[in-house]
């Protein structure tokens, strides 16, 4: 353990040995016994923590009553609300973003399915020829020489 490492632990975890990382606690405690600078540094941070503990936030009389009596909106209980809640998760839960993405894709999928089954009056003229190749073959049987005569 070096003085820099010990300083870092005090700055990050404070002077209470209980808060120090388990893996380094014993080494730190031993270091304070053998190193006078470390001992002085620990005393300095203990003094800081003690001072910090004397600063308490003021009390807020009336706040509890204010929060308890504030008007609370009625709870959403309808099916539609449940669906909306499911589809639109909290902004910070990225893992649930597949839900709105799925919802956005649904109209597209629905369009493809409906379009596949219904023609909505759009028809393809069917004259018996399924392929252009068939049509060209039939045209080749025509007698064009007679027309010229």
């Amino acid at each position: 353990m070096t003085l820099d490492e010990f300083t870092h632990i005090l700055e990050v975890y404070g002077s209470d040995a209980e808060q120090w990382p388990d893996s380094q606690r014993e080494a730190c405690l031993h270091f304070t016994k053998v190193n006078t600078q470390a001992k002085a540094l620990l005393a300095s941070y203990q003094q800081l923590d003690a001072k910090l503990n004397t600063i308490a936030a003021p009390s807020f009389p009336g706040l509890e009553q204010r929060v308890l009596t504030q008007s609370l909106p009625a709870k959403q209980s309808g099916l539609l609300d449940s669906i909306i809640n499911w589809l639109l998760p909290e902004a910070d839960s990225w893992s649930d973003l597949w839900r709105p993405a799925t919802a956005a894709c649904l109209p597209l999928v629905l369009g493809i399915v409906v379009g596949n089954f219904y023609s909505f009056g759009i028809t393809v003229e069917d004259d018996g020829f399924q392929y252009w190749d068939d049509e060209l073959l039939m045209l080749s049987f025509n007698e064009y020489s007679g027309e010229q005569q």
């Binding site: 870092h8 005090l10 700055e11 990050v12 975890y13 404070g14 300095s44 941070y45 003094q47 800081l48 923590d49 001072k51 910090l52 004397t54 600063i55 308490a56 936030a57 003021p58 807020f60 706040l63 509890e64 204010r66 929060v67 308890l68 504030q70 609370l72 909106p73 009625a74 709870k75 209980s77 809640n85 998760p89 909290e90 910070d92 839960s93």
Partner: protein, 190 residues
């Protein structure tokens, strides 16, 4: 009843469960908000909004992801940060003076005058810390969160949180040492 039971009841619209949760978490949330905002009125407004959000968004709390207190502190943190960004990050003199009086009331309850002066200087130094350092100190020292939990509340990496709290403690220790030096010099002259 556990937090999970109470939150499930809140989801069902149980107002007595809501009241229990308010009583359990009000002090922690209001103290945190006060430390970030520095004045009583905004602290009360933000605290009220935190619990309104608890009522409205109770269903979105996932006990597997975070403890309820962590979740509430995160809501409070986000609301405070939004507020500070809208209204400027620094407290005006009008806001600092009443805060001084409020903190003085607490400090005056114990300790001698010199100790009080030192504590006041430390309190001023806390208020002058950048918002991220102040948050880190409040969450780790006063609220007792682990570094990992505090990082989750502030939505930063653990490394960034540790950097913030290290800077805060270093800065406050320097303030305290300076106050002691000044006091020593004054005693020598006297």
């Amino acid at each position: 009843m556990t937090d999970e039971d109470l939150m499930a009841a809140v989801c069902d619209g149980d107002q007595s469960a809501y009241q229990t949760l308010v009583r359990q978490h009000l002090n922690a949330i209001s103290h945190y908000a006060f430390r970030l905002l520095g004045n009583r009125k905004d602290t009360e407004d933000i605290t009220q909004e935190v619990f309104l959000k608890l009522w409205i968004n109770a269903a979105s709390w996932d006990p597997k992801k975070a403890k309820l207190t962590t979740w509430l502190h995160r809501i409070a943190h986000n609301l405070c940060i939004d507020y500070l960004r809208k209204h400027g990050n620094t407290q005006t003199q009008d806001e600092i003076e009443p805060q001084h009086q409020e903190i003085d009331e607490v400090i005056n309850q114990s300790g001698n005058w010199e100790q009080q002066e030192q504590t006041e200087k430390l309190n001023d130094a806390i208020n002058l810390l950048p918002e991220n350092q102040r948050s880190a100190l409040m969450l780790c020292h006063y609220a007792g969160f682990s570094n990992k939990e505090a990082a989750a509340i502030m939505n930063v990496s653990v490394k960034a949180l540790e950097s913030s709290i290290a800077r805060a403690r270093r800065s406050l220790r320097a303030t305290l040492e300076q106050a002691e030096t000044t006091r020593g010099e004054a005693e020598t002259i006297g």
